[in-house]
């Protein structure tokens, strides 16, 4: 089957999640720098949840992103 990161819904979900909880800057899609930022934030999230740190939007990572949770960001300054 298709890899999870190929699914645009999954990418949107991940962007929303990383934007909200890991301070991913909005509106940077499509450039190399933004891909790096996206992967760095995924790595940060994977490290926090003790997942395998790959920077890729794998099934385990998506699974955690879909779980019900608290709205307070996991890292960074609280605004």
């Amino acid at each position: 089957g298709p890899l999870p990161h190929d699914n645009p819904d999954n990418v949107r979900l991940a962007e929303r999640y990383l934007h909200r909880f890991y301070g991913l800057p909005a509106g940077l899609r499509g450039r190399k720098a933004s891909l790096d930022a996206f992967q760095d934030k995924i790595k940060e999230m994977q490290e926090f949840f003790k997942l395998e740190v790959t920077g890729n939007l794998d099934e385990n990572t998506l699974d955690v992103m879909q779980q019900p949770r608290c709205g307070v960001p996991d890292v960074g300054e609280y605004n």
Partner: protein, 365 residues
Amino acid sequence: HFPRKLKWQNTNITFRIVNYTPDLKKSDVDRAIRNALNVWADVTPLTFKKLNEGIADIMISFGSKEHGDYNPFDGPNGLLAHAYPPGPGIGGDTHFDEDEHWTKDSSTYNLFIVAAHELGHALGMSHSSDPGALMYPVYSYGEGFPLAEDDIEGIQELYGPNPNHRKVKPKPDAPQKCDPMLSFDAVTELRGETIIFKDRFYWRIHPQFVEPEQTLIKNTWPSLPNKVDAAYENPEKDQVFIFSGIRMWALNGYTLVDGYPKYIHKLGLPKSVRKIDAAVHIRETGKTLLFTDEEYWSYDEASGSMDTGYPRSIETDFPGMGDEVDAAAFHYGYLYFFHEHVQYEYSYNSRKVIRVLRANSIFNC
């Protein structure tokens, strides 16, 4: 903790419930919030006074979508609640998503558990990466006193311990997979995955996952007990049987099978057996071995009865691996016995121990 270790400067903190969810009776909401505050009061010198009007340190409210703080909720599921760290104005305020269904039991979202977590933020606690801690950011239902050691260490770092030394029993930290002294409660296969139970948690090893996944038992199966003694898979029935004390449950995939729990004595064990230490199904013979203390029993899955001539001595029939077993598994003609932090690889055909490994070598530690 939040950056700069934000905390309340006095120990007498006020709170006010600004509005109520229609999902619960007003008195149930009051009780859930009061109990959630008491969780933190038990382990600190903090006291909480309820105000019915005016501005309190912690203003508690239910709202949906954009609810006045430019930090909107998202409808059912997803975000459940949020809270602000100690400070003036919005600091300490705690908001619950009204689009969730709030309960006082394990169905949907338990208000007491979410409130205890959020009020932790309102007191200065940030998120924990320990999946057994109350301050772990992902919701899970649990019973009993909700704080783990990690939560207590955190809050006492800010406010110190409770001078009245009220007795509380914290939940231990989540077991670490590479702890050299790690032992297991139970091991089973589940449709090609390996499930390892330890304390309130289980690890899931999937052939396509590089890292094992650790989850609270209650998170997946709220009605299972917090401690599993033994487990085995019968692949012909496509069922996994889980034992705790004198009760057993059956899973089909991850779903609990109706009609359980049943008493283990239904299998034909005598009433004197109060607990099964380990269980393993041997596909080739259709037998399930059940280990209790220094003995084991053989259960015939086809006839649904215990084989005669049992119990037999573990030490006699499985030479080289001591007389007690914590967990057992069977792969490709080898039995894997776990006892304390050691794993014995036992050849079922040649009837001897082939290798002795650390229990957690299963995690590639």
